[in-house]
Amino acid sequence: MKELSIYIHIPFCKRKCLYCDFLSFPVEERKIGQMRGQQVDCGKIEIKNYVNLLCQELMSSAPQYRQYQVISVFFGGGTPSLLPAEDFARIMDTVREYYQIVQDAEITTELNPGTVDGEKLKHYITCGMNRISIGLQSADDEELARIGRIHDYRTFLRTYELARDAGFTNINIDVMAALPGQSVLSYERTLRVVTALSPEHISAYSLILEEGTPLYERQAEYLFPTEEEDREMYALTKDYLASCGYHRYEISNYAKEGFECRHNKVYWQRGNYAGFGLGASSMVENVRWKNPEDMKAYEAYVWTRHGKDMDAADMHGKDTHGKNMHETDMHVAERQILTKKEQMEEYMFLGLRMMCGVERREFEHLFGQRIEEVYGRIPDRLCRQGLLTQDGNRIWLTDKGIDVSNYVLAQFLFD
């Protein structure tokens, strides 16, 4: 049986962080409306409606995944932990009812410190959740405030302890380097504090200023670490986390032995994944598509699918040239049938993000051509430049290659 991962997007958050350019919007800022003389929180209604849509989408899509078994489910956001416990249960029940989930499936939700209590966390366990990912970003309260996070370190710590108490044995903590006002020393402290808690997994990213975010617009007002400091933090991450028993398995992801995130790896290894919810991305059998990012359009998309028993072949495979496209596809924001060349590109630039790299044999098996036939001397050149290493079968990034991975990965795109 083929494998499938499920991503579920929860676009709500309490307040948008200043660096965030993901598809999310603050739920508390929604206007409080009047309804039959009573004050009604439109935000709550909105969440209820959204969960209805999600469940509807999960149900009507199910027939096309009859041949698949689900190996992971990931709730991402926004802040999925803002969902009331009963909504979570409803979604998980729907997944269980309509999809075949393997016994040891990895079921993760992201959560933000302070958005859950012990009861909610226990509820998660009851729903079958077995992994959580907590967005800490920094252990320094001033740094957190500067980037617009809603919590402080103490709040995080309470949430973490509650999660352990509730019985979670697989926890990820997100940390960020290159934050405004961050020093190498304070970053090191964050790493120390985090590793002391001994989570199973750590994601460490550098802050990237994305156009359109408040932090980007106001960057002149902040003091960012110098290039040298940024560089030092970056080196520190790898060395320090290694010394604490975390191995790097992807450019930004570190895990204790046996705790690599299965769901994440599906993205890099080009496994099948179906995204549900507003603006969610999917890739199944080399077809990529993306749900509408506008709530109204998403709603229309879900309702037009309703009741239509779609065969998997309708979504991918048969209509490779866009002919006989199912009418519901008209609501999909972007849909792309990957050509062989595009598949090769992805295989390389996604695969190389993993420390284990890509495999020549697998490439040849998938595409019927050797890497050298397709990419000529590019791999050799990058090896000579000290950016890649290779043995008989595998090709992977060197430390230097990781540092400038954008450059390396871009080499594998065709003109």
Binding site: Y205, S206, I208, E227, G275, R288, F349, S405, N406
Partner: protein, 604 residues
Amino acid sequence: MAAIDQSKIRNFCIVAHIDHGKSTLADRIIEKTGLLTSREMQAQVLDNMELERERGITIKAQTVRIVYEAKDGNEYIFNLIDTPGHVDFNYEVSRSLAACDGAILVVDAAQGIEAQTLANVYLALDHDLDVFPVINKIDLPSAEPERVKNEIEDVIGIEAQDAPLISAKNGVGIEEVLEAIVEKIPAPGGSPDNPLQALIFDSVYDSYKGVIVFCRIMEGRVSKGTTIRMMATEATAEVVEVGYFGAGQFIPCDELSAGMVGYLTASIKNVKDTAVGDTVTDVNNPCAEPLPGYKKVNSMVYCGMYPADGAKYPDLRDALEKLQLNDASLNYEPETSIALGFGFRCGFLGLLHLEIIQERLEREYNLDLVTTAPGVIYRVHKTDGEMIELTNPSNLPDPAQIAYMEEPMVSAEIMVTMEFIGPIMQLCQERRGRYISTEYIEASRALLKYELPLNEIIYDFFDALKSRSRGYASFDYELKGYEESKLVKLDILINHDEVDALSFIVHADSAYERGRRMCEKLKDEIPRHLFEIPIQAAVGGKIIARETVKAMRKDVLAKCYGGDITRKKKLLEKQKEGKKRMRQVGNVEIPQSAFMSVLKLDDK
């Protein structure tokens, strides 16, 4: 059509400083004579190139024939020949003037006479034109018509007390101007019975008719079937059509005779055969002598033009070919640069001409261009006695073979109000100017005369002049000749490789300063690579300046979220796309913009 009475023809032009209202007055004249209604007028009928309208200047001479019923009850034919308004096109101006019998001098009632006004009036007077002044923009609050009248009399020495006071913009006083044209501009001379002698003052290429020759018939007559000969280029052809100029259209007629202004076509394929200033005569009944004043136009400014996308080379060649059909003063020949690949070395009348051609190539032909720094033609005298004219710095012979070098000089006249004499003199000094004289025009203004190397004024001199005089200084120049000069070739080395497209000739004294600024500029333009890149400026192999582009040491994608791979791929593609627009020199990728940045060295 009844035969035209030669005594009722008036051939004239309008001379003015830029922005004094020449084109607006031309529009009003056309409008008042009833040829066009206000509604039909596209603002400024005569400047019909989009570029001309945008820049507010006339690039190609435009001509229109209009009929005016004067107060004396007679109908007059006016041929208004609009002349180009920039020093780059001085020769064209002189030929257009030679086609006229008189000129209207437009002077701005607030600004008075400017250097360009003077230059153009003198040019008109040199051609024995009867000039009468018109004071424009009298509606401006700052208008001082009386002061300007006195200035015209004092400075130019022509009668100005009864000059019409007009506002071309508001259509005030136009009748007066029309009557003055009838009264003050003489009817053309010449006899239709003499052998044909016609002056070519412009030509355009039409894909159906071939070259359309704009000419003024001085003597004789020409009609369909006449076999003509261009006396300088010696091209011959049989006339297919003659006619005159309607507003924006060619109107055929039976014959053009002495005194008339019109066009002829003769299936001529190349504007090079119909050089401006040449004389057209009848092969079967030739005139004794060509008209005076013809000269071959030479390019003064050269630069390399390369397609940003190397594959567009044939497109660039085709586009240049087409532009040249209409512009005999545009020269080009293929050249190859190690850094930029295949392109053309192009010659222009001046920097404005260069900019116009560049913009037309980009807009009308949709080409993305990389241009190298514009330079003048240097004369290199070699030790073996040979002299070469250098248009591309890369071709400079080995210094050991060079006896001496010469550069072109211009005589410049700068008109400036007293308070700015100091700063302007300083500017001329910085540009290696040689002071000649100061003439005081009136209590508050002076005319500075300088000799300057052409090289120093071709790009930003005019801007510098304007900024140091708060816009009050005006400037005109003419080529004076060549002078020996201490010139060196400044080379730029990127990662120890010489980049030919960045080399230029500079005076030895300014080499250090220019080299330093080039390096600074290039440091900002060249992106980081995986290795450190030295940028060096060198003269004769000796490094005179250096900057370093630090190595790129970190370039990692942000979080890849929720499996949105497409977005991440787009980021990588953008990075890759950026590289495509770069030029590879050795193992360094140089963005196109770096080649242009050297043009902007002076706006620190």
